[in-house]
């Protein structure tokens, strides 16, 4: 007798849903699409608006030129100045203050998260958690006010000290003699703003370190630091990287707090001089120039917005990819 093998049947997921389920699923799908549509519309809008300026300047020139000059139409022909719009100085400035912010915020966040998860008593950890969450909720204008009123004064002293004592290192050089509006100050403000974000995410990942691994480490004679170094941090590694990227994404896009403390310099790229008052920030550029800009300059500013949009998208994509990697790892 030959065995009759039945034809395989796939059962659609739709068949498991009731009518109400299906309606709900449709609403949810629409919501998901909506966010995608919004994202695409923003991108299309930015590109569309930026085209005149980029066509006028050329894409390479726009991305690599450090000069930003609105141009002028004088009474005589000789007074006429051709407008030049390049965002290189602002683009690099954005990245520089982002890097400063991460370098300052990451160790503090790691320490804080470790303290909350592994060191503090339950009571103190609860208070610390609440404070960190509260810090994350403070509006950026409040950070800006703090930076203007307190940090700028302190920052001037720190900057002067760094130049006087460590000025032989290029990053602490300052030929101008003014220590206000430096990338360092902007980086510090940003660090203060992103520390709560990085801390929150890091705390969450660290707290998921399996208790049995911590027990194993302690039973093998491990004390706190070796347990962190060999067990908890390796476990949380990719989560911490993702948290950092999230913080960086926030730092790159931050506008008002940077605008009030950073001196924007057009014309030259300040590559490393973090205590020199020559900064750049695409977001701040837009705030500074938008209200008085002509049609072509507005188009150029929107081009800057597009570049910023692309950078934050890339950073977020990296963060997502890394956190997904972390999930498949385990």
């Amino acid at each position: 007798m030959t065995l009759q093998i039945p034809k395989p049947k796939t059962i659609s997921r739709n068949a498991q849903l009731t009518k109400a389920d299906r309606r709900f699923a449709r609403v949810m799908t629409a919501a998901a699409f909506f966010s995608l549509v919004v994202l695409s519309l923003i991108a299309i809008f930015l590109v569309y608006q930026a085209v005149p300026a980029i066509r006028d300047q050329g894409l390479i020139q726009f991305l690599t030129d450090a000069r930003w000059d609105s141009g002028s139409i004088g009474e005589r022909d000789s007074d006429f100045v051709e407008p030049i719009f390049g965002i290189a100085a602002m683009l690099w400035g954005t990245i520089l203050i982002g890097i400063i912010a991460i370098i300052l915020a990451l160790p503090i966040s790691l320490g804080l998260a470790t303290f909350i998860v592994f060191i503090a008593s339950e009571k103190i950890a609860g208070v610390a958690r609440a404070i960190v969450d509260f810090l994350a909720a403070i509006p950026s204008i409040v950070y800006a006010l703090w930076a203007i009123s307190a940090l700028t004064l302190k920052g001037r002293e720190w900057g002067e000290w760094l130049t006087t004592n460590l000025g032989f290192i290029p990053i602490f050089k300052n030929d101008i003699g003014i220590w206000v509006g430096t990338p360092l100050i902007a980086g510090i403000v940003l660090a203060a703003m992103i520390t709560p974000i990085i801390t929150s995410v890091t705390r969450e990942v660290l707290s998921r370190t399996p208790a049995e691994l911590v027990s194993a480490s302690l039973a093998l004679g491990g004390t706190l630091w070796p347990t962190l170094k060999y067990v908890a941090f390796p476990f949380a590694k990719s989560g911490i990287v993702a948290a950092t990227m999230l913080g960086l994404g926030r730092a790159l896009g931050e506008t008002v707090a940077v605008f009030y403390v950073l001196n924007l310099t057009y014309g030259t790229i300040n590559w490393v001089g973090i205590v020199s008052p020559q900064g750049g920030s695409i977001a701040s550029l837009i705030v500074a120039k938008f209200s008085e800009a002509g049609a072509l300059e507005i188009s150029a500013l929107l081009g800057g917005g597009m570049v910023l949009f692309v950078i934050t998208l890339i950073v977020n994509a990296i963060a997502t990819a890394i956190s997904r990697l972390a999930i498949t790892d385990k």
């Binding site: 049995e212 302690l218 039973a219 093998l220 390796p234």
Partner: protein
């Protein structure tokens, strides 16, 4: 003896039966051990001797405090928030809870294997074996030899010698548990505490681990918590029966050579438990 278990209730701790027949020199001994979680007394007046190079099984129904007790023997209990204890654990004659004793040193001399195999997932097999040295910052001149020796003692060497660089996650559950045993052995402890080491393993792996335990007992002292009566009889020379009745703290009902506890128990509750009539 009458003690206050909580402010409202008073509990009479019965005297442990059968202890008299253990006359061998003990390498480790718990003396009048009481254990609390917060205000709740969970173990009362545990007095047990663990003779050198022997296996002692701790048996009893769930919730009677066996696992809690075993964690007091290498100072792991105190790591739980709200945990408290009173009493002594004498190891080679000295109280491991003495004021000058460093808990890290205690845990290095008295190793522990847990219920669920817990090798470090990010480390290779070899790194797992050596992890105790790294964690406790112990230097070793010949790590390769130590890896081979520890894995051989744990009965795992032949199965993994060609893939020491693989991650521990590539091993089966039983192999992972023997890797955890090897990891504990690498720091050269005198006593090995095992908290239901086979409860997450299949019967084949269980027998393999039991074989390892018997081999280990030739040169070290083993204390094993188990729910498996047959296992206790297969591996242990001595057995202690823990019991907690009517929400009272757990205590040791009976303690003695395994053959006596199983064949001629003194207490009827011991007899009922080992014959499967409750628990």
């Amino acid at each position: 003896m009458t003690i206050n278990s909580t402010e409202s209730s008073v509990f009479q701790v019965p005297k442990t039966k059968g202890t008299g027949s253990i006359t061998t020199d003990a390498v480790m001994e718990s003396v009048g051990m009481y254990v609390w979680f917060g205000p709740r007394l969970v173990l009362a007046d545990v007095n047990l001797k663990f003779p050198a190079n022997s296996v002692t099984a701790l048996i009893g129904p769930s919730g009677c405090g066996k696992s809690t007790f075993i964690r007091t023997l290498n100072r792991m209990h105190e790591l739980i928030p709200s945990a408290a204890l009173a009493g002594q654990v004498l190891f080679e004659g000295n109280d491991i809870y003495g004021p000058t004793v460093n808990p890290v040193d205690v845990r290095l001399r008295i190793g522990m294997v847990f219920q669920k195999p817990n090798p470090f997932p990010a480390m290779t097999i070899e790194e797992n074996v050596l992890s105790g040295l790294r964690l406790a910052k112990i230097k070793n001149e010949k790590p390769a030899e130590l890896v081979e020796k520890s894995l051989t003692q744990a009965g795992l060497w032949n199965e993994v010698k060609d893939r020491l660089g693989n991650t521990a996650g590539s091993l089966s559950g039983g192999q992972q548990q023997r890797l955890c045993i090897a990891r504990s052995l690498a720091v050269n402890p005198n006593v090995l505490l095992m908290d239901e080491p086979c409860s997450a393993l299949d019967p084949g792996s269980t027998l393999r681990v039991e074989e390892t335990i018997r081999e280990l007992s030739e040169f070290m002292t083993v204390v094993i918590v188990t729910h498996n009566m047959q296992q206790a009889q297969r591996v242990a020379q001595f057995t202690a029966f823990f019991l907690s009745e009517d929400n009272n703290p757990g205590y040791v009902v009976e303690h003695g050579p395994t053959v006596d506890v199983f064949a001629n128990p003194i207490d009827t509750r011991t007899s009922d438990y080992v014959n499967g009539r409750f628990g």
